[in-house]
């Protein structure tokens, strides 16, 4: 019962957040100087029919709230509008690009979860020179922006050693992975360092806690203490931050796709901003923000699964 209420509460919050975010993205258009029609068609010479088509698409002759509802209704039915430049449905334009972005983010996430957690756990459990040097490296890596990491990786591994391709997304599974090695390392680098540092800190603070001391004095084997007492509890803050960090990759992907000329949502977003194709900007922003919100909710639920106290606690408050 408690769990069900918690679940419903989270889902309602998810729906509200999605709704507010969609309003913000739609409303942004009205911040532009001048009329919405002038904004949408900025800098283009268009025939009267084309102008009418855009006005009709956005229902510009109706009140703003109805315009929004029409747009939202379309979005919920999978209609993300029509590109002004390509004169084609945005949904069909971004399908393949979304897959490319998903691949990039997925590869980077795997790196963060495997390398970040492993480094953090090793550093956390084994104080000493290894710990110190790992954490120094991590601190330095956190200062490297993804696009700077990208050009350094390109210089070393693509130009000098010629091990990896510089541009493009490749064909087929293995070629795709091969093309994504440098982009995903560049995208994940700072987050790997961040998650590693956080993991180490969580493990250190857990290892120093009373219940672990008790477990040690009870003579439990080291392996049990580490897996049952330290890791399980340390996982709680780590899951939250790892989730948020992976959400942050969505924005980082925009920059990385641009460097490596990957044909993804991010590079298309930048292209659409440059060519003033606002329906595309709107649609991609909505997709990126919505996936971030959904991911956050998933993390929240995962968090509750790891720590049942959260479900109970919410009910009392």
């Amino acid at each position: 019962m408690t769990t069900l209420r918690f679940l419903i509460g989270r889902l309602v919050a998810l729906a509200i957040t999605l709704l507010l975010a969609s309003m913000a993205i739609y409303g942004a258009m009205f911040l532009a100087p001048g009329s919405p029609l002038a904004f949408l068609t900025r800098g283009r010479t268009m025939s009267a029919e084309e102008l009418d088509a855009i006005a009709a698409q956005y229902h510009l002759n109706e009140p703003v709230w109805r315009q929004y509802l029409y747009w939202l209704g379309g979005v919920l039915h999978g209609d993300l509008g029509t590109s002004i430049l390509q004169k084609a449905p945005v949904t069909s334009l971004i399908g393949e690009r979304a897959v490319n972005t998903l691949w990039l983010v997925a590869c980077a996430s795997i790196l963060i979860l495997t390398v970040g957690l492993t480094v953090g756990i090793i550093a956390g459990l084994k104080p000493g020179w290894l710990d110190t040097s790992l954490m120094l490296t991590a601190t330095a890596a956190m200062a490297v922006p993804a696009f700077v990491a990208a050009i350094i990786l390109i210089l070393i591994f693509a130009v000098n050693l010629q091990l990896f391709p510089v541009f493009g997304q490749g064909e087929g599974f293995s070629d795709r992975i091969y093309h994504l090695v440098l982009p995903s390392v560049a995208l994940a680098l700072a987050s790997v360092a961040y998650v590693a540092r956080l993991t180490r800190a969580a493990i250190r603070s857990e290892a120093a806690s009373d219940h672990v001391q008790t477990a040690v004095s009870r003579g439990l084997p080291q392996r049990t203490i580490v897996s049952r007492h330290i890791l399980r509890n340390a996982m709680i803050p780590i899951v939250t931050v790892a989730g948020l960090t992976i959400g942050g990759l969505i924005a980082g992907a925009v920059v990385i796709e641009q460097v490596f000329q990957l044909n993804g949502l991010g590079s298309y977003l930048v292209e659409a901003v440059g060519s003033k194709d606002f329906p595309v900007v709107q649609a991609i922003s909505l997709i990126l923000v919505a996936s971030f919100i959904v991911l956050n909710t998933v993390v929240d639920l995962l968090y509750a699964a790891l720590d049942p106290r959260i479900v109970v606690g919410r009910q009392h408050s």
Binding site: A21, A24, T139, P145, L155, I250, A272, G274
Partner: protein, 290 residues
């Protein structure tokens, strides 16, 4: 509850205080970070007066030219002096984030203080708003702003600041809430002081350390995001110089064996962000020690 608090607040043994005393203040790394940042700021402010080479002067004879007397770092792909462009580019790269930090810290503090003090429905609404804002990565917000207002730093910086506000607000709000529950605040309330008065005269100085730490860390993020925005061509517009623009402009050179421009500009960003992050970490640790 109150007994526990009193006990934990009682003076610790002297040796313990001494051990902690070594970590008080900025520490060696903190001071190194301050020194590095000061040098960078001084160079970008006064550099152009001392190093008078024109950063926009194109000399096609010197395309990708190596360092030579009077041009210690050599030339970029258009034959412009690299050192002059780095120094001038540093101005926008280091100054832009200041705007972001000022706006987001002011907005965040305002939201946090009012939410923590007024509480009730207002607090719930503000928290809900903060949660929604979290869904917009700062960089994405800046890109949307550029889509609406056109390329450049101004709209992008404001959008970025709005994107950072929830982070700052959340940190400050929890600090203010913690402070609010301390006995001295109740004592002040009993003495008849108003919420605004207590917030400004008593709470603000006590959470100042946390606000400074949050502002410093967000400066580092803002530097990265603004440079990234210029890098993808939506921020500072060439031929104006900026570290992000220089990393992007250097890519053709990088692919054909002249990586200097991208590397030098990238290195400047890494050093600045690294120093700021170290300083922010020290500030956060100092705020916690209090």
């Amino acid at each position: 509850m109150s007994i526990l608090e009193v006990q934990s607040a009682s003076p610790e043994p002297i040796e313990y205080d001494d051990v902690k005393g070594q970590r008080k203040g900025l520490g060696l790394t903190g001071w190194i970070a301050v020194a590095v940042l000061s040098v960078m700021v001084l160079i970008t402010v006064f550099g152009p007066m001392l190093y008078t080479v024109d950063p926009d002067n194109i000399s096609l004879m010197d395309t990708f030219g190596p360092p030579q007397p009077g041009h210690p770092l050599g030339f970029d792909g258009q034959g412009r002096d690299l050192l002059a462009r780095l120094v001038v580019g540093g101005r926008t790269s280091l100054l832009g984030p200041v705007i972001v930090v000022i706006i987001s810290t002011l907005l965040g503090a305002l939201l946090a203080f009012s939410a923590a003090w007024i509480g009730g429905t207002y607090d719930t609404v503000v928290s809900r708003f903060i949660d929604t804002m979290f869904a917009f990565p700062g960089l994405l917000l800046a890109i949307i702003a550029v889509a609406i207002f056109g390329p450049g730093l101004m709209a992008a910086s404001i959008a970025l600041a709005i994107g950072y506000t929830p982070f700052v607000a959340r940190i400050i709000r929890s600090a203010v809430l913690r402070e609010r529950n301390l006995p001295y605040v109740s004592a002040l309330t009993v003495q008849g002081l108003g919420g605004l008065n207590i917030s400004i005269r008593h709470l603000l100085p006590n959470v100042a350390g946390i606000i400074i730490a949050a502002a410093t860390l967000s400066y580092g993020y803002a530097l990265i995001d603004l440079a990234a925005l210029s890098f993808i061509g939506l921020g500072v517009q060439p031929p104006q110089s900026d570290w992000g623009v220089m990393v992007a402009e250097g890519i053709p050179g990088l692919l054909s064996g002249y990586p200097q421009e991208s590397l030098y500009a990238g290195l400047c960003i890494i050093i600045a962000v690294g120093a700021v992050n170290l300083l922010g970490d020290r500030f956060a640790a100092m705020a916690e020690e209090e």
